[in-house]
């Protein structure tokens, strides 16, 4: 058995202490150790974006980050978006715009969109398309995803 390292992370607001082998990725740990399977496994080379999560406010492909590198970090996954059982406005907008078809890429899209809006509350269509260019959707729901981000931004203005 490979040696393990103890890491402490905050995942969706909860502090977690874990023993992880040095070669396990953050995605491995989220899915296999914490059973948070919202982040998806697809390309494992940082090209598809299905495993996107937010680490200390920045989106990362969790397949490219070693779990030990996340030691001390605050991590948000798709499971952390809804609060007290009610959907986050972005999730609501994805639903209303029909952005989720098969749904497999959607957790990653949501996290990328979430981080985009945090840094740029009123993005243009071009900014959204560039910001989400690392998240592949083979169903081709790109227009609906963009519409959902725009709707969320507009909603934010109204509130």
């Amino acid at each position: 058995m490979a040696e393990t390292h103890r890491i402490e992370v905050t995942v969706n607001g909860l502090p977690r202490m874990l023993e992880v082998p040095p070669h396990h990725t953050l995605l491995d740990v989220l899915r296999d150790d914490l059973r948070l399977t919202g982040a998806k496994e697809c390309c494992l080379v940082g090209e598809c974006g299905a495993c996107t999560v937010i680490v200390d406010g920045r989106t990362v492909d969790s397949c490219l980050v070693l779990a030990v590198e996340a030691d001390g970090c605050e991590i948000t996954t798709v499971e952390g978006l809804a609060q007290d059982g009610s959907l986050d406005p972005l999730q609501r907008a994805f639903l209303d715009e029909g952005a989720a078809q098969c749904g497999f890429c959607i957790p990653g899209q949501l996290m990328a969109a979430h981080a985009l809006l945090a840094g740029n509350p009123h993005p243009t269509v071009a900014e959204i398309q560039e910001g989400l260019a690392g998240n592949l959707c083979r169903c081709g729901s790109y227009l609906q995803i963009t519409d959902a981000v725009l709707a969320t931004a507009a909603e934010g203005t109204r509130r």
Binding site: G38, K40, F94, Q101, C102, G103, F104, L110, R138, S141
Partner: protein
């Protein structure tokens, strides 16, 4: 409740799970005591397996199983939807890069990875064929053992089957102008974002199998046969696939994983990597020679089409793809003389399988492009030549087959309007327009059960797979409409062969029509029971009771379903149950074993701009119009059409497998194999539907979901050709290819 929910776009049923991450795909499931499996493959395509030494792998802590062909019942079981030619694991010889020679299973993924790397395989690389030219060479090595096709005159060649079809007399036909060219279509892969995944677990005296499969009932039959079990002992769970596009229709490694689970006596889980998925499924590449005969007035005289599809090492469903896809190759036109000869050609490459469009996009690219050449040759507008020859409603454009089931000129005219056909173009731009037609399902069998529970809520059992097309939502809408329940009072149960009645398959854009009609029939059966109930309760003649959209009409008043159901069921409560069965039997006299239930018809029009310095193609405007009969859920229809359009841009502009000299895919994986991203979209994507409620499905619907992909390549190719004034007859239209075409024009 009498308001209609048909034709509206409620939030997707199952949508909450998709946006919260709680949707459980196969790879998200966790079984206690599960072993993690890995495949062992070789670093070349075709090789003779000399020996396999598993001792080092088995010596690793946590490794529980290394299984090869030698560990399996002899002869090793074979399976396949058309021809049972595929062994559950390579026997004696690998036939393509990625063909597994062993499977390992261990307590952890790490141990399985390490073990797979330690399985020592001694092998000898053998001559192999990766292209049509090599496979068709009389001296080529045979891909398939001729013994698998006894009595077949083609068994000693790499041609698996020939599909000739036609009418009239092409050789005798005389046309003013004949245009002949050859076109190629690349080998591309589905790239569903969810890689294929399988779990198998011994289940008492049977087995349970979880798979990303589109056809759970078909898989159940395959597993039962391979394991020698009755169907009732094989339970297949098929959670909603994370994208299918045809690639998940048929069994791949499920039989192997099932055998491993039985041997290990424990659950075994195999989640493919994206690279392994590339090595498991792809679309057939194709070379098409087209001779089009046309008169000066624009009348098509003949189409003479020869299409060679390069399929893989095992038949899978590929030969059906070739036969069915090439069958309407002459297009939605009335052509008096047609000759089509399509061939499925075996090669030492990944077995090709169904992929959205099912063999049709390949021939469409060629035949529609050649029609543009014909128009150019006689000096006729490209839209005009299409409208001049298009089949009108009721025309037997394919003799003795389903006549044209729509007024398709409406669709074409609308697409032309939306692209601004005929209006002046800025320099560097071009327009193209193309028509696509695809035969719908030729056979089908869809059972369903609907239960109206005592409180008026509804459970629908339907064996369709909802892989994103939204079948679950449509079935819920039908049940809500017919039985008066609010949509969120309807549950749709799918993906469990032990509790959901049999459905043949989820393919050919069939589910709204076939399963939709089945669910409608089940609901109407419940309505009949409600009529009887109301007549009894209110002492009126049953003939005077009507049920419509959840309202029970008595001669003197209207009641809601629940007002009849509750007193009707009485003190014990209970429920009403209805069954649906839609059967489309095979017709052995038909070349496709059955006339299609409907046609998918689409017109795509493109305006494109070409960067003369780089060859880069920008799609300025992409118009896609489909005849869908009636959109039961317009948003889902739109997202399916737009998704198909974008997917079509993939094989048109960027996607293709590249092989090396030993048959390895050089661009294996997401870094080197590019699919459209949010940065590759048309600057303007417009999708519309033509709806005349003239389809065979519920409320006049037709099947859709593939149509908008069929003719993308031809429409884009035509636009690029107009922009650069050079034809390119090979896909994809990469910047390099377009740039080279421009350079050649300059030099010439």
């Amino acid at each position: 409740m009498s308001a209609t929910i048909i034709g509206t776009s409620p939030n997707r049923v199952g949508g909450i799970g998709r946006v919260t991450g709680s949707q459980q795909y196969v790879a998200d499931l966790r079984l206690a005591d599960v072993l993690e499996a890995r495949l062992v493959t070789l670093d070349c395509a075709r090789a003779r397996i000399i020996s396999i030494d598993a001792s080092a792998a088995l010596a690793l802590p946590g490794v529980r199983l290394v299984m090869t062909a030698a560990d399996l019942p002899q002869p090793v079981p074979r399976f396949g939807p058309q021809l049972e030619d595929r062994p559950v694991i390579a026997v004696g010889e690998t036939k393509y890069h990625g063909d597994p020679v062993a499977i390992v299973a261990a307590e952890t993924k790490d141990a399985a990875d390490a073990a797979a790397a330690l399985v020592r395989v001694e092998y000898e690389e053998l001559p192999a064929v990766f292209t049509l030219a090599a496979a068709l060479d009389p001296a080529a090595p045979l891909v398939q053992d001729p013994a698998l096709r006894p009595g077949d005159r083609l068994a000693s060649t790499n041609v698996l089957r020939e599909h000739p079809i036609g009418w009239g007399d092409v050789d005798a036909a005389v046309a003013d102008v004949v245009v002949e060219h050859t076109y190629t279509f690349p080998m591309v892969t589905h790239f569903a974002i969810e890689p294929h995944a399988y779990i198998a677990a011994p289940d008492g005296d049977g087995i349970a199998v979880w798979s990303t499969i589109q056809h759970p009932n078909w898989l159940q039959k395959v597993i039962a046969k391979v394991l020698g079990m009755p169907l009732a002992k094989v339970r297949v769970f098929a959670p909603d696939p994370g994208g299918g596009f045809g690639g998940k229709q048929h069994a791949k490694y499920e039989p192997l994983v099932a055998l491993a689970a039985i041997r290990a006596g424990r659950p075994v889980r195999l989640v493919l990597s994206l690279e392994e998925t590339f090595q498991a499924v792809r679309r057939a590449s194709c070379e098409v020679r087209v001779r089009t005969g046309v008169n000066r007035d624009g009348a098509l005289v003949f189409e003479d089409i020869a299409a060679d599809y390069l399929i893989g090492a095992y038949a899978d469903i590929a030969d059906r793809v070739v036969g069915k896809g090439s069958y309407p190759a002459a297009g939605p036109y009335t052509v008096p003389n047609v000759r089509i000869l399509a061939r499925s050609v075996l090669s030492h490459t990944v077995p090709s399988t169904a992929f959205r469009g099912f063999g049709n996009p390949q021939v469409n690219w060629a035949v529609e492009s050649n029609l543009d050449e014909a128009a150019l040759a006689i000096g006729m507008d490209r839209l005009e030549i299409r409208l001049r020859n298009i089949a009108h409603r009721g025309d037997a454009f394919i003799p003795f087959d389903t006549p044209a089931d729509g007024e398709w000129s409406q669709t074409v005219t609308r697409a032309a309007e939306l692209i601004g056909w005929g209006s002046p173009l800025p320099p560097g731009r071009g327009r193209g327009i193309a028509l696509g037609i695809k035969s719908g399902p030729t056979t089908g069998l869809s059972y369903s059960t609907v239960r109206l529970l005592g409180d008026g809520s509804v459970i629908v059992f339907a064996g369709t797979s909802d892989m994103g097309q939204g079948a679950r939502t449509v079935f819920a809408q039908i049940a809500a409409q017919e039985l008066g329940a609010p949509l969120d009072w309807v549950t749709v149960v799918m993906g469990d062969t032990a509790i959901v009645p049999y459905d043949q398959q989820t393919s050919a854009s069939r589910s709204t029509v076939l399963m939709g009609n089945s669910v409608l029939m089940a609901c109407r059966s419940i309505q009949a029971q409600l009529r009887t109930m109301a007549a009894r309760l209110h002492a009126v003649d049953e003939a005077l009771v009507g049920v419509d959209r959840g309202v029970v009409h008595l001669p003197d008043r209207d009641l809601s379903v629940i007002d009849v159901l509750k007193p009707g069921l009485g003190r014990l409560g209970g429920e009403l149950t209805g069954n649906g069965e839609v059967r489309k039997d095979a017709d052995p006299s038909h070349p496709l074993s059955g006339a299609p239930a409907f046609f998918e018809f689409n017109c795509t029009a493109i305006e494109a701009e070409v960067d003369r310095e780089t060859g880069d193609v920008t799609i300025v405007r992409h118009v896609t119009v489909s005849d869908v009969g009636r959109a039961l859920n317009p948003l889902q229809v739109r997202t399916q059409d737009e998704g198909a359009a974008i997917q079509g841009l993939g094989h048109t502009l960027m996607e293709h497998y590249i092989f090396d000299e030993v048959g390895r895919i050089r661009n294996l994986g997401a870094i080197d194999y590019r699919i459209p991203t949010s940065m590759d979209l048309p600057l303007d994507l417009v999708s519309e539907t033509i709806e005349n409620a003239d389809g065979p499905g519920p409320y006049g619907s037709k099947g859709m979901s593939e149509g908008a992909l069929l003719c993308v390549a031809a429409a884009v190719g035509a636009a690029v050709r107009e922009a650069i004034r050079v034809p390119i007859r090979d896909l994809p239209l990469t910047p390099e290819r377009v740039w080279r075409a421009l350079q050649e024009r300059e030099t010439a």
